[in-house]
C-alpha cells in the first residue's frame, strides 16, 4: 500500500479531509443512536397484552339522563351481548389494556405496611372477565359467582373477595414461591385479599416508553366487581373472523335494548394498539427518514469533494499512469485515502455516539446503547465511504496517461 504518498497528499489538503471525517463521525453518532431508538420503539409497540387481541373489541357506554337502577340496565346489556351469535363472552370493566386510563393499587404483604411491595394495575371484572379478555389462566381458578359484587363508581369502598394476578405480579410479590392462596393487602386496608388464580400475562392499560406504568407494565390484577357507573366499557370477545361484523351488530343491539345512551367509542384492541403506539411508530419513522437523509447527504458530500480532488490532481494522475500505474492502482489510491479518513471519522464517531447516548440516558431515562450498534454503525460508515468514493475514483482511473505529455 502506498500510504506514504496518500498521507503527504492529505497533509496538503487537511481541511477537506477533516470535514469529511467530522461528517462521518456525526453521521455515525446519530445513526447508531437513531437505529437504537427505532429498534426500542418498535419492540415496545409489539409487546403482547396477554389478551386474545385479534378477537376482542370494546364499547364505551355512557348512560344519558341519569337513569335509575344502572345495575339492572347493565345486566340486560350484558345478556344481550352474550346472546349475539358469534360472541364468545362479554364483560364490563372500568378499563382495558392499551386504553391509557385505569386504576392502580399499591399491594402489600401485611396490613400495617407503610409503602407497597408492588404496584399493580386493577381491572374490575365479573366472572366472565377471563373469557371475555381471552387471558390464559395458568394456575388456580376463575372467580365464583358469589365473589362478584357491585361496585358503584369510584367512590364506592368495597374490599375485593378474591384476586387473580399476573405471573409477573406473583413473581414480584413472592419471588420464587407459589403465590396461589397467599394473602395480599391493598395498601391502607386491613382486609386480606386471597389470590385465587394466576394468569400468564395481562398488560397494564398504560403503554408509554416512560411515565406512569412503564415501571410495572406486566403487573396487573383482576378483582371480582361489577363496575356500575354512568360510564364504563363493555369488553366483547368474538369467534375468530367475526369481529368486524359483530362490532356493528353489537352497537345496533345495544341501541335496540335502550336508546338512552351514548356509545362514545367502539374499537377493536387492534385499533386501540395502533392508536396507543401511534406516536412511538411515528417517532421511529421520522428517525428512520432522518437517518436515511443523513446517509445520503454524507455520501453526496464525499462524492462532491472527492470529485473535486480528482479534478485538481488530473495532471498528477496522468503522470502516475504514464509512469506505469494501473487503473486499479489509481482506484485503490482513492479508496485507501477514503478508508483512512473514514476510519478516523469512525473512531471519533464511536466516542461521540457513546457520549451522546450517555447524555440521553441521564436526560431522558433512556437505556444504554448496545455495543453492537456502534460496531454496525462504524461498518456502515466505512462501507458508505467506499461506495461513495467509487464513482470519482473510476473517473480518476479513466484519465489517459497521455495527459502527462500535454501542457495544460
Amino acid at each position: 500500500m502506498e500510504l506514504g504518498p496518500i498521507l503527504s497528499a492529505m497533509r496538503r489538503n487537511k481541511v477537506g479531509a477533516v470535514l469529511i471525517a467530522v461528517q462521518m463521525a456525526i453521521t455515525l453518532a446519530i445513526l447508531c443512536n437513531g437505529l437504537f431508538i427505532i429498534e426500542q420503539r418498535i419492540t415496545l409497540s409489539q409487546r403482547p397484552t396477554g389478551t386474545d387481541e385479534a378477537n376482542v373489541f370494546v364499547i364505551t357506554n355512557q348512560w344519558a339522563g341519569n337513569p335509575p337502577d344502572l345495575a339492572a340496565l347493565q345486566q340486560t346489556d350484558l345478556a344481550a351481548l352474550r346472546a349475539l351469535p358469534g360472541v364468545v363472552d362479554a364483560t364490563v370493566s372500568q378499563s382495558f389494556p392499551l386504553s391509557g386510563g385505569g386504576s392502580t393499587d399499591g399491594i402489600g404483604l401485611n396490613p400495617d405496611q407503610k409503602s407497597e411491595t408492588a404496584l399493580s394495575a386493577v381491572y374490575l371484572v365479573d366472572e366472565h372477565g377471563i373469557d371475555a379478555l381471552g387471558v390464559k389462566l395458568i394456575a388456580g381458578r376463575n372467580f365464583n359467582t358469589d365473589e362478584v359484587v357491585e361496585l358503584h363508581g369510584f367512590t364506592d369502598r368495597k374490599q375485593a373477595a378474591a384476586a387473580i394476578i399476573t405471573r409477573a405480579l406473583a413473581e414480584k410479590l413472592f419471588p420464587g414461591q407459589n403465590a396461589l392462596g397467599r394473602p395480599i393487602y391493598s395498601l391502607g386496608e386491613k382486609k386480606v385479599i386471597p389470590i385465587v388464580g394466576i394468569v400468564d400475562q395481562l398488560q397494564v392499560p398504560w403503554v408509554g416508553a416512560s411515565g406512569w406504568g412503564s415501571k410495572f407494565s406486566e403487573q396487573s390484577m383482576l378483582v371480582p366487581f361489577r363496575f356500575v357507573s354512568t360510564s364504563y366499557h363493555y369488553i366483547v370477545r368474538t369467534k375468530p373472523g367475526q369481529l368486524i361484523g359483530l362490532m356493528q351488530a353489537a352497537q345496533k343491539k345495544l341501541f335496540e335494548v335502550n336508546r338512552g345512551r351514548v356509545l362514545q367509542k367502539t374499537r377493536s384492541l387492534t385499533e386501540a394498539r395502533q392508536k396507543a403506539y401511534q406516536d412511538d411508530i411515528g417517532l421511529a419513522i421520522i428517525l428512520g427518514v432522518v437517518c436515511a437523509a443523513l446517509v445520503a447527504v454524507t455520501a453526496f458530500g464525499i462524492v462532491g469533494l472527492t470529485s473535486y480532488w480528482v479534478a485538481q490532481r488530473r495532471r498528477q494522475i496522468g503522470i502516475r499512469r504514464a509512469l506505469g500505474a494501473t487503473k486499479n492502482a489509481i482506484v485503490r489510491y482513492f479508496q485507501t485515502e477514503n478508508f483512512l479518513i473514514a476510519a478516523a471519522g469512525a473512531a471519533v464517531g464511536i466516542a461521540l455516539a457513546v457520549s451522546l447516548n450517555l447524555w440521553m440516558v441521564n436526560a431522558f431515562e433512556m437505556q444504554r446503547l448496545h455495543v453492537g450498534y456502534a460496531v454496525v454503525g462504524a461498518i456502515v460508515v466505512l462501507l458508505l465511504g467506499q461506495v461513495a468514493v467509487l464513482w470519482p475514483a473510476m473517473k480518476a482511473a479513466s484519465i489517459p496517461p497521455a495527459l502527462a505529455t500535454r501542457a495544460v
Partner: protein, 440 residues
Amino acid sequence: MFSYYLALALRSLKRNLVLTVLMIAAIGVGIGALMTTLTLFRAMDADPIPQKSRQLYAVQIDNWGPSKSLPGLGDSENLQPQISYTDAMALMHAHAAARQTVAYVTGAALTPANPDLRPFQVVMRAAYTDFFAMFAVPFQFGGPWSAADDEGRADVVVLSKDLNDKLFSGANSVGKSINIDGRDYRVLGVLSRWQPMPKFYDLNNNQFGTPEEVFLPFTRAIESQMSTWGNSNCSGSERDAGWEGTLRSECVWLQFWAELPTAADAAHYREFLNNYAAEQRRAGRFTWPPHTRIRDVREWLTYQHVVSQEVRILVLVSFSFLLVCLLNAMGLMLAKIMGRAPDIGVRRALGANRRAIFAQCLIEAGVVGFAGGLLGLALTGLGLFGLRALLSEEAARLTDFGFVNVAIAIVISILSTMLAGLYPTWRAAHVQPAWQLKAQ
C-alpha cells in the same frame, strides 16, 4: 456594490451548477428537517397566555407527608400536582389571592331537546367564576356566572363555541337551557374560539387537547356528585365510602390556581400557604412541617414536562443533521472557491482588495443559504404533512407552521450558510494573485 456582487454570485453559481445544486440541496434538507422538528418544539414550548403567565400560579400543598408517596407519582420534592377537596375549599374561602379558582374535569351525556337526536357525550369543567377572568377566556355571547351563582350552586353553564354551533347553530343561546344527565341548566354565556396551547390549566390529560365543551359552577358539580374524569390519586389513604367520603379524604384530584399580580402578592401568598399548612399541623391533620409551593405558568409547564422527551430527541438529532449538512456545504464551497482561484487571482491583480473578494464570496454563500432556506421551507411543508399523517390527532395539532417559523427558517439558513462559508471565503481572500497569474 451589493447588487454587483449579487450578480457576480449568481453568475459564479451558474457556472458550476452541479456543485451549486449539491450545496443548496444539502442546506435545504438540513433546514427542512430542523424546521419540521422545531415547529413541534416551539408549539409545545409556547406560552399559552403571554400577557399573564407571570401572574397566574398553580398551588401545591403536601397533604400526604414525607412517609407516604407512590414512586413515580410525586416529584423529587414529594409534592403532588393536584390538591385535596379539604385544602381547595379552605383556600377558596380564605380569598387570599386577587382571584382564585379550584377546577376539575368531568363529563356527562347531554340530551338534546329534539327527541330525534341521540344523546351525546360532553366534557365539562367545574370551576369558580374567576376562572374566566383569570385565564382571559373570550366570550361571544353573554358572560360568566356570578359569585352569587357559585354560592347558590346555580344550574347555569357556559358553552364552548363548538358546542353552541352544534346545539344552536351558532345563534345566541343565552337564556336557553340544556339537559345534562337529566338536569336542566340555563346557558349564561358562549365562548368564542379559545384554544390555549398547551392546555396549561389542566395538564393531567390531553396536554394539547381542546378545552372542555361545558363550564359549570364547581359547587353545582360537587352537589350533583359529578366524579372527576381526570387523575385522582389516593395513595392508600383511608377514605370512607360514597361521595362524602371522597370529599373528606386526602385524595388529590383538584387543580388550584391563584392570580397574584405582583411579586409582593406572590410572596404574601407563599406566606399564607405556609401559615395554612402550619395551622393544619397544629390541628393534627398534618404531622410534618409546612411544605407548599406556587409556580407561575411558565414554571408549571417546565415542571410538568410539557415538551416531550421524543421531541427533544428529534430537535437534537435535526440540529446535528443540519451541522452535517453545513460541513458538507462547506467542503463543497471550499472546492468551488479553490477551483476559481485563477479568477480571483486576476481580480486581485486588477485591483480588488481582500475585503472586496471576501464580501463577494460571502454574498455568494448568502445566496446559497437563501436558496437552501427556500428549499428547506418546501421540505418543511412536506415534513409537517408527513407528521400530520403519522402522529396522533393531539400531536398533529402542534404542526401549524406560522409566519414566524418562515422567518426563522430563512434567517437560520442564511446565517448558518454564511458562517460555514467563512473559512472558504477567508481562503479565497488569501489567494496569492502573483502565484495564480504565473501558473496560468
